[in-house]
Structure formats: C-alpha cells, structure tokens
Symmetry: C2
Amino acid sequence: MYLSTTLAEGAATQLTLGGGDRIVVGVVAVVALVALAVGFILRREVLAAGEGTQKMQEIGQAVQEGAVAYLNRQFRTLAVFVVIVFALLFALPADDLAERIGRSIFFLVGAAFSAAIGYLGMRLATFANIRVAAAAREEGGREKATRIAFRTGGVVGMFTVGLGLLGATIVVLVYAGQAPKVLEGFGFGAALLAMFMRVGGGIFTKAADVGADLVGKVEQNIPEDDPRNAATIADNVGDNVGDCAGMAADLFESYAVTLVAALILGTAAFGLQGLLFPLIVPAIGVITAIIGVYITRAREGENGLTTINRSFYYSALISAVLSVFAAFVYLPSSFAELGNPTDTGVVAEMGGADPRIIASAAVLIGIVLAGIILWLTGYFTGTEHKPVKTVGESSLTGPATVILAGISIGFESAVYTALVISAAVFGAFALATGSVTVSLFAVALAGTGLLTTVGVIVAMDTFGPVSDNAQGIAEMSGDVEGKGVDILTELDAVGNTTKAITKGIAIATAVLAATALFGSYRDAINLALQKAGAAIEDLAYAVFTPSTLVGVVIGASVVFMFSGLAINAVSRAAGAIVFEVRRQFRDNPGIMEGTVRPEYGRVVDICTKDSLRELATPGLLAIFAPIAVGFGLGVGPLAGYLAGAIACGTLMAVFLANSGGAWDNAKKLVEDGHHGGKGSPAHAATVIGDTVGDPFKDTAGPAINPLIKVMNLVAVLIAPAVVTLSVGSSASPTWRVIIALVAVVIIIAAIVTSKRRTTTITDTPTESKVS
Amino acid sequence: MYLSTTLAEGAATQLTLGGGDRIVVGVVAVVALVALAVGFILRREVLAAGEGTQKMQEIGQAVQEGAVAYLNRQFRTLAVFVVIVFALLFALPADDLAERIGRSIFFLVGAAFSAAIGYLGMRLATFANIRVAAAAREEGGREKATRIAFRTGGVVGMFTVGLGLLGATIVVLVYAGQAPKVLEGFGFGAALLAMFMRVGGGIFTKAADVGADLVGKVEQNIPEDDPRNAATIADNVGDNVGDCAGMAADLFESYAVTLVAALILGTAAFGLQGLLFPLIVPAIGVITAIIGVYITRAREGENGLTTINRSFYYSALISAVLSVFAAFVYLPSSFAELGNPTDTGVVAEMGGADPRIIASAAVLIGIVLAGIILWLTGYFTGTEHKPVKTVGESSLTGPATVILAGISIGFESAVYTALVISAAVFGAFALATGSVTVSLFAVALAGTGLLTTVGVIVAMDTFGPVSDNAQGIAEMSGDVEGKGVDILTELDAVGNTTKAITKGIAIATAVLAATALFGSYRDAINLALQKAGAAIEDLAYAVFTPSTLVGVVIGASVVFMFSGLAINAVSRAAGAIVFEVRRQFRDNPGIMEGTVRPEYGRVVDICTKDSLRELATPGLLAIFAPIAVGFGLGVGPLAGYLAGAIACGTLMAVFLANSGGAWDNAKKLVEDGHHGGKGSPAHAATVIGDTVGDPFKDTAGPAINPLIKVMNLVAVLIAPAVVTLSVGSSASPTWRVIIALVAVVIIIAAIVTSKRRTTTITDTPTESKVS
C-alpha cells in the first residue's frame, strides 16, 4: 500500500529525462531567471528614489551598519554549525557516492541560498527605509511611499521564488531520478539556516524592542523611537535582521521544502510527469507574482491592506486558472498513460481516475487555503473586526483582562486556522483514497498551489519592517512632519496584519510539507527494512501503541520547550538592554535633556552578542531531539514525535502570532483615540499587552515553522540509519543507545547552559513614572 | 498481537468468581467501607471544633447558603444532560441486555457518586472554614488550625477512595466477566459530572475572584476580602464550589476511571487475578491514606508543606512495600499458572516472565511518578525555589515581564512533567514488550500505583480552599488579629502549592488511564470488525496516514478551544461582576465608608447564573467533538484525535496550572517584603500576573483532566457503532454523515451562542487609583 512495498530498489534511479522533458525543465529555469531579473529591475527602481535629509541618511547608515555587522557575525557563528552538519550528513547511509556527495553539496547550496536571500532582502530594506521616509514628505507621498515599500518587498519576493525554483530545477536537471534524495539535502540546508536566522533575528529584534519599550514608554514616558532612548537604533536594526532577513530566509525555506516534498513524491505517484508538474505550478506562480507586484497600486483614499489584498486575490485567481490549464495540457487523462510511476501499484489502484482532475483539484485546494488563511488572519488581527475591538475594550478593566482576552483570541484563531489546514490536508488526501502514494502526492501538490502565492506574500510581508523602519527614522530625525507622519503610521499598521498573515501561510506550508514528507519517511524506512531482510511492521506506527503515543507527547513537548526557550531568551536579553539604557540615563543626565547623544552602538553590541549566544539552545534542541527519539525509542515513536510536533506546533505558532498581532493592533486602536486614547490607563494596559506579544509574534511563533521542517527532515535523513542499527546483521543496540545518549546529553547541556545565563536584576527603575 | 485478534468473542463473559475470589473482593469492599467510616469519624472531629464569633458564623452562613444554592441549581441543570446521555448510552450497541442496562445504570451511579462527593466535600468545607479561622485565634492555634484543615481534607479523601473502590467492587461482584463494559459506564458518569463541576465551579470561583480583585485591589486599592467589596462573599463561595466541590469530583473521577482502565485490561492480561489485583492495590492505598491522615502533625516551627510532604512520602513508602508484598503473595510466578487470561496469546507471548515482578514494578512506577510530580511541582511553584523567585524579580521591570516569565516557566515545567509521565508510560510498557496486552495492563497498573496516593492528595488539596476561606472569613469579620492572621496567611500559601501538585497528579492519571483505555478502544473496534466479517486494518491508525494525522491536529485543537472558551467565560463573567460592584459603589457611597452593607447576594446570583450558562459550551464540545470525528472521519482519525488531545492536553494542563501557581506565589513573595513589598510597582505587577493566572490555574487547567477522560470514554463507547455503520451489511454512509453533521451543528451552535454573550463594556472605573 505504501510506496516501497511495491517499489523495486533502485527503480527511481532508472528515470531519465527525454528531450521534451528537458525543454520543460529549461522553460522553468528561464522563468526562475526572469524572476531574478525582475528582482534586479525592481531593486534599481527602489534605489533610484530620493534618500531624504542628511540626518535621515545618517540614521539610515547607523541602522545599516548595525544590521550588516550582526548578519556577518551570525553567518560566522552559523558556519560552524553548517560544517558540522555537513560532515554528519556525509556520514549518513546513502545508496551510492553520487547521492552522498549531491545530498551534502546541495545541503550547502540550500543553506547558502537561504542566507543569501536573507542578506539581500535585509540589505535592500536598509536602503529602502530612508527612501520610504523621504517619499512620505513629498507631494503624493502616500502613493510613492506605499510603492517603494511594496516594490522592496517585490525584490525579496522575486529572489525567494527565483532562487527556490532555480535550485530545484538544477537538481532535477543534474540528478533526474536521484533528485529526491539530493533535494532532501537542499531542503534541509534551507530550513536549518532559516530556523537559526528566525531565532537569532527574532531574539535580537524583540530584545531591542521590549527593552526600548520598557525603559522608554513604560518608565520614562517618552515616545517610541525617541532619539534619547539608547535602544532605538538597535530596535530599528532588529526590524531588519529579524522581521526582514529572518522572514525572507523562512519563506525561502517554506518554498524550497514544499517543493522538495512534492518532487520526492512526484515520480512515485505520477512518474516523470510527477517530477515535472510540481515545477510547472510554482513557475506559474512566479509569473503571477510578477503581475501581482506590478498591478499593486493604491487607489485614492483606500486602506493599504485593501490594495495589497486585491493584488493577492488577482494573482491567486490567475494562478488558479493557469494551473488548471497546465494540468489539462501537460498531464494525460488516465493513470495508465503516465510515464511509469515508480510505485508500480498506482496504475491498478487508481483505475479509471483522471490524473488531470486530481492534480487540478489539489492545486486549487492549496490556493483556496491561502485565501482563507489571509481572510481569517485579517479578521482576528485587524483593527476593524470584533476580536481586536474586544481586546481594546478589555483595556478598560486593566492589563490583566487585556492579556486574557488576547490569549483566548489567540487560542480560538489557532483552532480555526488548524482546522482549515486540516480540511485542506484531508481534502487533498480524499482525492485519491485508493492509493496512499497518490493521496500524499495530492497533499504535496496542494502545497505547490500554496506556493504560487508566496511571491506576493513575501512582498506583503517585507512591507512591514520597511515601513516600521521608515517610521522610526522619521521619528528619530524629526524631519518628517504633519501628513507624512500619518502616512507612515498607516503603513506601519498595515504591516502588522500582513506580518500575521505571512506567518499563517508559512505554518500551512509546514503542515502540508510535513504530511507529504511522512511519505518519504515511511519509504526510507521500508527500503532499509527490505535491505536488512526484515518484515514491515505497521502496528508500530499505530497511535494507540504506547511507545508511539509517548512519541506524540514528546513531539508536542518539544514545541512547548522551544517556545519557552525563545520567550525566555528575549526576556533575558531585554533585561540586559533595560539595564544598559537605565545606566546611560543615570550616568549621563544630558541624554534625557537631549543635549548628549546616547551610545547607540553599545546597545546594538549587547543585542548582537546575546542573540547569537541564545540561538544555540533552541537550535540544538531541534536537531538533536529527533535524533534522541529515533535512536533511543525507534522509528514508530519518531513518527509519533513528528505528528505531535506538527499538531502542537501548528496551534502554538498561530496562537503566538495572532495573540501578538491582536495585542499590537489593540494598542493602535487605543492610540487612534478609542477608550481614552494615548496616555490613558487603557493605553498603558494595551502597551503591556503589546510587550507580552512581542516575543510571541516575532520570536517564538514564526520560528516554529522552520522548526517543524528541520525536525521532519532530520527524521527522514536518519530513518535508514536507525533501521540499520535495529534489525538484520548490522543491528547494534549499543550504538543506538550511545547515539541517543549523546543527543540527550547535548540537549541537557544546552538547556543547562542557557539557564545559567539568567540575568540577575539588581537595580530598579531610576525615575519611574508608573504608580 | 492486540487483544481481540486472539480474543474469542464472549470469552470475557465466561469468567466467574470462585469462593476464594469472592473473599478477596469482600475484603476490598470492607476496606472501602472502613474508609467511609473513617471519613465520618474525621468529620465528627472537625465539626466538634469551636465555631468562632457571632460575626464569623454569620459570614460562614452566608458563604454556606450561597454554595449550597449554587450546587443545587447546578445539579438541576446537569440533570438534563445526564438524562440525555443516559438515553444515548442506552441506544448504543451492546452485547446483550444485561450489559446495556448495567452500563446505563452504572453511568448514573458514577455520576451520582461524583456529585455526592463534590457536595459532601463542599458542605464540610463550609463548616470547616469558620472552625479553622476560630482555631487560629486560640492558644497553639497553628497546630489546631492546620489539623482541622487537613482533617477536613481527610474526610473528602476518605469519601473519594471509599466510594470509588466500593463502586468498582460492586460492579465486579455483580457482573464478574462482564464488569469491564459496565465499568465504562461507571467511569463515564463520574468523568462527565466531574468535568461539568470543574468547569462550572471553575468559572464561578474565578469570575468572583477576578471581578473582586479588579475592582477591589486594582481600582479601589482596598485589600482582598475587604467586607466593603460586594464580591467577597461570592469569592468565598467560589472557593468552595470550584476548588473544593469541583476538585473533589475531579479526583473521584480520576480514581474511578483509572481503576476502570485497569479492570478492563486485567482479565485479558492476567485472567481472574488481573480483575482482582487492581482492586487490591488501591485497597492498600486506602489503608495507607488512613495512616497518612492520622500521622500528619505539624512539628514546631516547620513549614506546613514539609508536614504534608512528609505524610505523603511515608504513606507512599508503605503503599510501595505492601503492594509488592501483595503481588508476591497473590500472583503466581509464571503466566502459565494465571487463571486463563482472555487474551489467549498472552501465555505464549510472555514465556517464562514472572507476572509478580511485572505487577510490582508497574505499581512502583506509578508511586514513584507521584513522588516526582510532587517534587517537580513544588520546585516550579514554591516560593523558596528559583522559578518563582525569577518571576518575582521580573516584577521590577513591570507586568509584561512578569507575564512572560510566568509563561515561559509554565511551558518549561509542562515539558518536564510531560516527559516524566511519558517515561512512566514507556517504562511500564517496556516491562512486557512481548505482549501489547500485558504491556497496556502494566500501564494501567502504574495508574493504580498512582491511586494509592490519592487519599492523601485529596486531603492536601482540600486544605487549600478551606484555609483560603478561613482567611477570607477572618479578614471580613475582623475578629482574628495578630498571630492568627499570620497563621492563616501561611496556611493559604501552602494551599497554593498543594493545589498545583494535585493538578499534576490528576493529569498524570489522565495520561495513564487514557493510554490503557486505548487498549479497550482497539479491542472494541476489532470485535465489531470481526462481527461484521471485515478485516483488521492496522495501517489506518498509523500516524503517517494523512487522515490520522488530521485527527491528531483536531484532537490538539479541541484542547486549545476548550481552554480558550473557559478563559473567555471567566473574563465575560468577571466583567459582569466588575460592573455590578462598581454600580454598588457608585449608587451607594455609604458602602465605601463602611456604613452600609453591600448587596453580596446579587453578586452571588450573577456568578451562579453566568457560570451555569457558560459551562454548556465547553461541555458540549467535549461530548460532541469525538462523535463528529469518529462518525465523520472514521476510527483511525478518532484514535489520532485521542492521541492529539492527550499530548496537547497534558502540556496545556500543566502549563496553565504551574504558570498560575507561580504567579500567585510570586505575588506572595512580593507581599512578604521582597522587591518593594506591598503597594510597590512590583506588587502591582505581580497582582496583574496573579489575575491572569486565576482562570489558568483554577478554571481551564484543571478541567482538562476530566475533558481527556470524557473524550476517551466517549470514543470507547461509540467505536463499535462507528464500525457497524462503516463495514458489512449494516454499513450506512448516510447515517454516519448525518450523525457527524448533527454533532458539528451542535458544537457550532454552542460556540456561536457563547460568542453572542460578550458583555459590552459601557462604563469606566469610577474612582480609579491607577495612573
């Protein structure tokens, strides 16, 4: 029933690309290159805009330098990790040397692409921020500023889809039938680097933000981004390294891993066409994303979110039509006519079913899923809908009710999002209940449907940190006034919702990719069992087997642990910032009077040092927890572990993102004059909510998506080794125990080290303005 | 491999009790009656204590009346539910009429016992509170007060174990081999009623508490339990109906369901001895609990928690020794000598293994688990350890960092607790990997090991609300002064930690019972499949099957939804209280001056009405969600659903309980003079943390334990019906869809109704003391 029960060993390697197939792949590669070219064109357009006043440029430069310095140090730190993982990957079992080398090399390529997109995106954002701020000062500033911010996002979007598609295409061209194994390396590299960038950048940005708010807004009662606050430059650097670089890497990873999952299953289910069709769908997405970026024009008096939503829905619609068209043109009308699926049972199992209908329906499910998540997230985090209004109202009874309202909205919205994603998985699965292979491929194809929207999504998301930064620079320089300030405030609020939407889409890709990757996990195990001459034992994976159930509990636990560690890391780093800023105010009274410039650089340094130190623990947990479970308890519990992590991770990720988004926008609601407006007790209550939400929505929440993918890919990669050590002539319980113990010791050591770092609070607020 | 693959249909019914067996059961029944007798003796002792001043008695009377009135109304409301479920249960498939009748009748018995224990416990607590307060005024007050509070707990503990054991014993005596099916009804009744009492009581107590705090402490800056606050009587009523009645019913349910799980598996694994041994172990627990309650004596200058811990560890040790002794005396030394396990494969599968060692080790695992949870919870929520100190320190940087610190401690402690419980499950499972039946029975026996500590645990827990109430009455009456106040404050702080410990133990019973019940779930399905002449398909339960994975996600979602609904219900009801108390202050200025008595009754009425209205939605969700998944998606996804609910539920329950406990005790830490003491900004920050924690730890968190059990038992009960409608001659997809749709509609209607109830906030604080 499952892939390898009917998969002749080595069958996959016999696939070769014919001339026509090479043309298809070539066209896809050209589309990928076009995306990169469009990215460069848009980039030039952004850079051509005016750079504003001298003061704005100076601030922009400081932010830029801080961001580049951080990223360079981060890459140096991560290089160590990457080299170690490269070596481990090379040591893992492989079918032949070509696969072994390809998997390790493309691991590096995936990691490098992930890093490159993060770096390029961030660098452009640090150029764009001053330009958006400058545009807001000009005549017709609203349209100009929106345009620059969205075009900046367009660049990042084009690079994301272009490099993702290009990488996958090259692997398919070079490795043909062996591509799936090599792609696992590519996806793993992308996911691993993205996870580290999400965690590190997330800690940096929120430590700076929370630290700046605690001393500035709460203690000293000075506005956000006030230049007297020593943490403001760090806060703006954080927007770039976290919300921009981290997010871009994360979405690239989502793109790459989803594509990888589809390509792995493709040949088994649909044969050669199955390897190529998952490349065609995202290529269509690239084309529609280009259209989407170019058609985005703010209409007079229209909310920025409406503009962005319109371009999303237009490009989703075009993608849908073109994908269905492609399915009917490219695929045959029956499974018998497909180019030899490697799962030889598929043709008989599917009988007279039409692969074109299954493929079209699956892709449509993915596109519709993206639309529903967009709507749901907008509803739960937008200022004009009931949930955020309820949180706003709860500010009248104080901070405690604000927190409770935000948490219950987060819980609830997580459930709806999880159910919608579940429905999509179940719907895709139900398209082909006769064959598990085909149904898993349908789930993966739904993922590629979701991918067609990623270009626009990235553009929407990058919009957030760029306008946030622009507002910061405007405030700090004091060179933007009147209408310009309003424009930037509006753009910033739109950014809050687009950021929450992106996280919802990202976690949906995690669930779809993870479900599909389960197929290759099972496949890897069964192949290894066949080699060892052992029987396939499906009962070991049954959820009611106590050891598998224990796996589910442990998987869910890791999500809680990871979230707790990330939140804790932010609190710890923020505490250090608070003390530094307080110290500067105390030691140098001139700062508060505005006559002395605070030492911004010291705060940036603390953020850099702390976030790089803090990212190791959650990172090690993600890599070594599946190793400990797999080698320690076996492949059944490891499958349970993944299921637990997916289920709990989805809910936790959306809960954290949406609670945080709702609190942030509830604060904006009060600042817009509701419930007493700025300076009222209601405002103070929502500021507290927003501060709690910061590490939720920008550190812990978004990192769960790459976390799930990293753990999934680790599981897929180690599964054959676990089986080899468990059955047959090579069985060695001793080695299994040793490996599991080493993994457990590494995890414990990492957690203990991070505990030891607790900052001991010794001083108190200097001039507290809070009763 | 699994039970029914080798289980001849109807084999279970052929078991009959011999003369010697009847003697064993008789002795257990006598032990149960002794527990009840001891309960009555302790009760008389409590009632014999002095009742304090006239004013204290008046207040006590008001609390009593409110509590009894609430419980009576609650029982009337629940009677409707119970009758409907009784009818549904009667309609479900059964082997014969005796089973059908027995299952439904004992459902009523389980529900009645659950209600009775809640009622008796609460009623006694309302007598004990004034006596504890009165004792604190006397010479040697500390010892006397501790003694009365702990003896009150002893009464509830004795009733819990006595009635639990008695009910199970009667079922075994009357139904012998058919007992397992009837016991499902008994456990379901107990769990269902407990869930409703936990939710209803939890909403009542925290709505009153949060409402009282928001207006009293936060707005008006008057102390807790100040008689001028109209919500104080309701707050004290809440302690009784929630923390006392709800908790007692919950622990009774834990006791009953764990016992049921062990008894169901016993005959399959160990034959007749397997049916009786799980009765012997808790009988030993009853004896040691009696010893534990009597040896509890506070030593001079000793912390109350130390006293209680000592009696816990002593009784756990005695239980351990006696259980091992019982295993070696009662059980034979090989599986071949056992009295015909109904799983006929067991003897061959287990070979030369010694059942005495397996049984002893399993029981010991359970007892050790209880000890570790006790220690872990004490560490994470006790004022003298690092976690609570960290939360306390974080109050220096304001409420936001208090919330973040509490949440990350909650996440972390949940992980450790979940891992310890997992280790226990895995350990018990690993005792007999050769036979799944025996390994599941080992998990269930670990549950009975845990049960031996329940008597003392209940006594510890009841301690909490009684001393909380005593403090309230002392404060309101103004008749306790000086040292007496200190004594009551100390007892109250001890209560906070004992309450958190109880929740940890309760959730552990949920995991052990649920894991064991999975055996009977699978068994029920396979029997139904055999009847329908269909094949057993284990792959359907594999976690990597997309539909099962979707089940896992939905199961985890229900936990989030349930928690969100419960927290929301508290916020909503608390909002109503806030407006009422504000209105009374505004309309009648004499209240604030202390010349006019506030209308306490109105607040009690609002709490009663609101909590009864609010308990329906989460309750309906618990019953109908598994029905929707089971009939709608099938038995594989329903198994996934249970696994997701267990994994996520365990983590969520402990997270909510421990975060709440840590916040509460961090507040006490500050009130003891740390970080600025009472009235400082740090104190205000911890009060906010405590308010957020209230619905976490006393409403949503503790209700998850009965939630898991209810959903598990619903799944076990409906499984045969799902199979009957799915395969063979009786298959009817139409009926499956109709039933699933009805369930979904009921859930949606319940959620929509609860959404509609959002209280619209129209007024603002009258004389706010907060900037």
